[in-house]
């Protein structure tokens, strides 16, 4: 009992903070999602409208489009980050000249705020002044304009996200690789496994928990990407890069549609939880199962 009480006392400050800044706002958002509410209108009262907002979502083509755009973006970005991050992590496991400097430079994007990443990339991508369109044109004769080409805009955002977040994946995978015991790998060589078999039979299962944790983090982050995209393309051209985060932002701020924005937020949270749960079940649960 003693240690139990001490535990609660030690947890109390966190729980209080969590309640006021996490639980309470969440409950409030759920509450708002059942209302029609424009706090800046002539009549700023909340009007309860039952499940109308939720019903509206199902027929909201823009929202459905934003979900599919987001899913495609997340798949491309997270998978690429995993692959590139793993390759870099393996590279950092070896010794090569300039490793320390390269590692520092490689980690720099992580410390930049998304809004700055967005504005820097915007500068680099703007036709006529940006360095990337300039050299693509000068060297390969390719002219791109993220203001008019949906594909270019979408691809740029994925590349920007990879540039920004791969270092995080690299760091967590390095941590996982460093902590692996060497013996099973030597044993596998003796047992007759080749490099590919060692990778799939030994390395992947042994770093799987770290990979899943990393994917969780990246998934949740990527699903709520707003500022970089807002800065770079504003969700355009058209709705090519109108991710759910951007969609919610547009509903809430320019349109001041707080009730409907909250509804979308709740649904997106729900979808995120489902995605993470699916990931957990498929990747980790089978090994935790015991007779």
């Amino acid at each position: 009992m003693q240690s139990n009480r001490l535990g609660w006392i030690l947890l109390a400050p966190t729980l209080v903070i969590l309640f006021f800044f996490g639980v309470l706002p969440f409950i409030y958002v759920v509450y708002v999602s059942f209302h029609q509410w424009n706090p800046f209108a002539a009549d700023p009262t909340m009007i309860f409208n039952g499940a109308d907002n939720f019903r509206k979502i199902v027929f909201d083509a823009e929202f459905l489009n934003s979900v599919s755009v987001t899913v495609i973006f997340v798949l491309f970005a997270v998978i690429s980050e995993l692959v590139v991050g793993y390759v870099l992590a393996q590279a950092f496991m070896k010794e090569f000249p300039g490793k320390a400097i390269f590692r520092t430079i490689h980690t720099l994007p992580l410390i930049m705020a998304p809004i700055i990443v967005g504005s820097v990339w915007k500068l680099m991508m703007t036709p006529s002044i940006g360095i990337i369109p300039h050299y693509l044109n000068a060297w390969f004769g390719i002219s791109i304009n993220i203001g008019t080409s949906p594909v270019a805009a979408f691809a740029t955002i994925i590349i920007m996200d990879i540039w920004h977040w791969t270092p995080l994946v690299t760091l967590t995978l390095i941590a996982a690789l460093v902590s692996l015991p060497p013996d099973p790998f030597e044993q596998a060589q003796i047992d007759g496994a080749n490099k590919r078999q060692i990778f799939f039979h030994i390395t992947v299962p042994m770093i799987a928990p770290a990979v899943v944790a990393t994917v969780f983090i990246r998934l949740m982050d990527a699903l709520r990407t707003v500022d970089e995209v807002w800065m770079l393309t504003g969700g355009g051209p058209g709705s090519a890069t109108r991710f759910v985060g951007v969609h919610i932002f547009k509903e809430v701020f320019p349109k001041t549609n707080y009730g409907y924005g909250s509804t979308i937020s709740v649904i997106v949270l729900y979808l995120t939880i489902v995605a993470c749960w699916l990931l957990y079940v498929t990747m980790l649960a089978p090994r935790n199962k015991k007779d």
Binding site: P181, P184, E186, A188, I190, A193, N194, Q197, P205, M206
Partner: protein, 353 residues
């Protein structure tokens, strides 16, 4: 099954040479134990046999094939690590079956062999468990199972019993030896424990500082150690060493230690005044009425035998007797030494005379 030949093998890490021309011939079906203190190079030698460590010079052959540049997976060897190196995410069944799966054997054959090995090692009940759900001894047996399903040419064991408690170590020692008798496969076994070496080996290779000190059958090494190091390493408790010289006293040739202790000598052609190290095993000393007088320091009864530590000046001598024996510290005790059991070593070269 195969013979193994280690021919003048040298190992260097950069400019540091750690293995200085090691030669060992291992016969087909032989149980060879590499033994020596930490850092003597025994594990490195085993890893070179496995192909996990490159050799800088010399040749290693398994069967009739020189394997210097052959990767581990093509050497047809199986190895059991000190840590067991089980795959933590695989069940016992999959751990044991892994080498067969890698070799592309079909499922029914894998199943038959895994169950066969599990049966030999008493693991049938645990086939569906994960390594973390097993005890140390069970993990050890899984590692052995993974080795025996392959039916390799050579088994390599790297201190496989070091992580087990004393009682289990004795049991597993018997099991490994029994397994060898049943399978008849060549085994190279590394340990720092001379008891393991003595009890299990057909042939012991004693190593120190990257050199082979002596190779021989266990009792051979016990009876005829080549030098002070081997004499001190083989046998427990360790041999007594007393520094002194050969003298003739009252017409009798004797050994006189630096502190003046007189001890009986075996037949020797060495001249008087020759400086030697006198070696006598504790179990070869009896307690009697007409022996060498010493003062008791400590008496350690273990039940089955009694170890008596005694001294004379600066010389400590330790005796192991079968009888129960009681003596007060500092009382006089007489050690009876049969000269036939005495070993003489040169004091400077430490080689046997």
């Amino acid at each position: 099954m195969a013979q193994v030949k280690i021919d003048n093998v040298i190992k260097r890490y950069g400019s540091v040479q750690v293995m200085h021309g090691v030669n060992v011939d291992i016969d087909d079906g032989e149980f060879v134990v590499l033994v020596g203190p930490s850092g003597c190079g025994k594990s490195t030698l085993l890893r070179m046999l496995a192909g996990l460590e490159e050799i800088s010079d010399g040749a290693i052959s398994i069967g009739d094939r020189v394997v210097n540049d052959v990767p581990p997976k093509e050497r047809d060897i199986a190895m059991v690590f000190q840590s067991y190196a089980l795959y933590p995410h695989k069940t016992v069944y999959d751990n044991i079956g892994f080498p067969l799966k890698m070799a592309g054997r079909d499922k029914s054959e894998i199943d038959q062999k895994v169950r066969g090995a599990a049966d030999i090692l008493d693991l049938t009940k645990y086939l569906k468990r994960y390594p973390k759900e097993l005890s140390g001894g069970q993990r050890q047996r899984v590692a052995m199972g993974r080795a025996i399903v392959r039916d390799p040419q050579v088994f390599l064991f790297d201190e496989p019993l070091s992580n087990l408690d004393a009682k289990l170590r004795v049991t597993m020692r018997v099991e490994i030896k029994e397994l060898h008798q049943r399978l008849g496969t060549t085994i190279v076994y590394v340990t720092h424990d001379q008891i393991e070496a003595m009890t299990m080996a057909d042939k012991i290779v004693v190593m120190r500082d990257g050199r082979v000190e002596q190779i021989g059958a266990p009792l051979d090494l016990y009876d005829n150690p080549a030098n002070v190091f081997v004499a001190g390493f083989i046998g427990s408790p360790s041999m007594n060493f007393i520094h002194g010289q050969i003298v003739t006293d009252g017409g009798v040739r004797q050994f006189r230690s630096d502190s003046g202790l007189l001890l009986p000598l075996p037949q020797t052609a060495l001249p008087d005044g020759h400086k030697v190290t006198y070696g006598i095993r504790p179990e070869h000393i009896a307690i009697g009425n007409h022996g060498v007088p010493l003062r008791v320091v400590v008496v350690e009864p273990t039940g089955s035998e009694t170890q008596v530590f005694a001294k004379h000046g600066g010389d400590f001598v330790d005796a192991l007797v079968k009888d129960r024996f009681k003596a007060a510290p500092n009382s006089e005790v007489r050690f009876v030494i049969d000269p036939a059991n005495v070993h003489l070593f040169d004091r400077t070269t430490e080689q046997r005379l």
